[in-house]
Symmetry: C2
Subunit: 198 residues, 2 copies
């Protein structure tokens, strides 16, 4: 269990971050469709093929931030402590996300995060790909929950709930309120939603 911290790995990490940072900042400034991959490569001082070696598509330049959370629900269920119900584990996990203002919960009022959110959901192709990611998440969660149609239904309902909760939080933030102000309602919403889910 060793991670190579050689020059190669370090420079790769830096290149990756340089590309992602250049891309997001250009997208936020001009909009996703008005920035070409050539512009990004130039800003990051790398060539176009190199850009595509780090990110398979233009959309991934934005969506890679969600990739870290890919399959998270399934993982939470699979790694839960013995004796804990799946829905309880997911509830606690979401609650912890709220407490630490994890952007995926929608409860984060940093200007960058809000602008990033607006970028993603204001760009159809990005929102579309995000929806497809959810389908994969659903499948993975279904597998973690068991077999058959019942597991699938519960997985679909769970992810739907998570999305509604996050969206509700985000809309409140977008309305001008602070994360700290919204937090109690967000917790209450989550309690209610997960209670109903059980």
């Amino acid at each position: 269990m060793y991670e190579p911290t050689g020059l190669r790995a370090r420079k790769k990490q830096r290149t990756h971050d340089a590309i992602a940072d250049a891309a997001v900042s250009l997208f936020l400034e001009h909009g996703f469709d008005r920035v070409s991959v050539n512009d990004i490569a130039a800003a990051a001082e790398i060539s176009k093929p190199t850009l595509f070696r780090y990110f398979p598509t233009k959309e991934d330049l934005v969506l890679h931030r969600f990739k870290d959370h890919q399959g998270e629900a399934a993982r939470v269920v699979r790694d839960r402590a013995p004796g804990v119900e799946p829905m309880t584990a997911l509830h606690r996990h979401f609650r912890a996300g709220l407490d630490r203002r994890d952007p995926v919960t929608g409860l984060n009022d940093h200007p960058e995060v809000v602008a990033f959110h607006r970028l993603v959901f204001g760009t159809p192709s990005l929102a579309g790909r995000l929806a497809r990611y959810r389908l994969e998440d659903e499948e993975a969660l279904a597998d973690a929950l068991g077999e058959g149609i019942e597991a699938r239904l519960r997985a679909a309902q769970t992810l739907a709930v998570l999305q509604v909760l996050a969206r509700a939080n985000w809309q409140r933030i977008a309305g001008g309120r602070t994360a700290g102000d919204v937090h109690p309602e967000a917790v209450a919403d989550a309690d209610l939603a997960f209670g109903r889910l059980r």
Copy 2:
């Protein structure tokens, strides 16, 4: 007459500078012999073979600054305007160097330059290589001045004069005086030396 300003060239230039800067600053801090090429490579965040791809020897990490001036005297003579005597061209060139405080004239009191000077002439292996560079300069200047033993003698005397002038200036600066203060004497010395040379 176009210079390729692609990514490749730009990054090469940056790597070159990063290595040279890291090396000189480490040398100034700890001394030439107490810094290994491994230390320099680590500080510049490159591998050892890469370092030697940019600089053939450890000494060149310091002396590359003089390489820019390699063969300068010969060039000045060869490119002089028609009707101008070789020694006159060299005299004017040196005088111009004094006016712009070119470090090779010794008339520069920037702390970095002084420290660098002390580094070079306080390290035997470096001073030695620098002397060998002078021999090449002499040959080139001799070729520019003509053929036969006479041209060689004039070349040798000329470079000797240049070195004496620079060393005199440097010693005055090392004594604590400023470049502006020393400048008139440096000009007078040069006038005298080149007058005698003709």
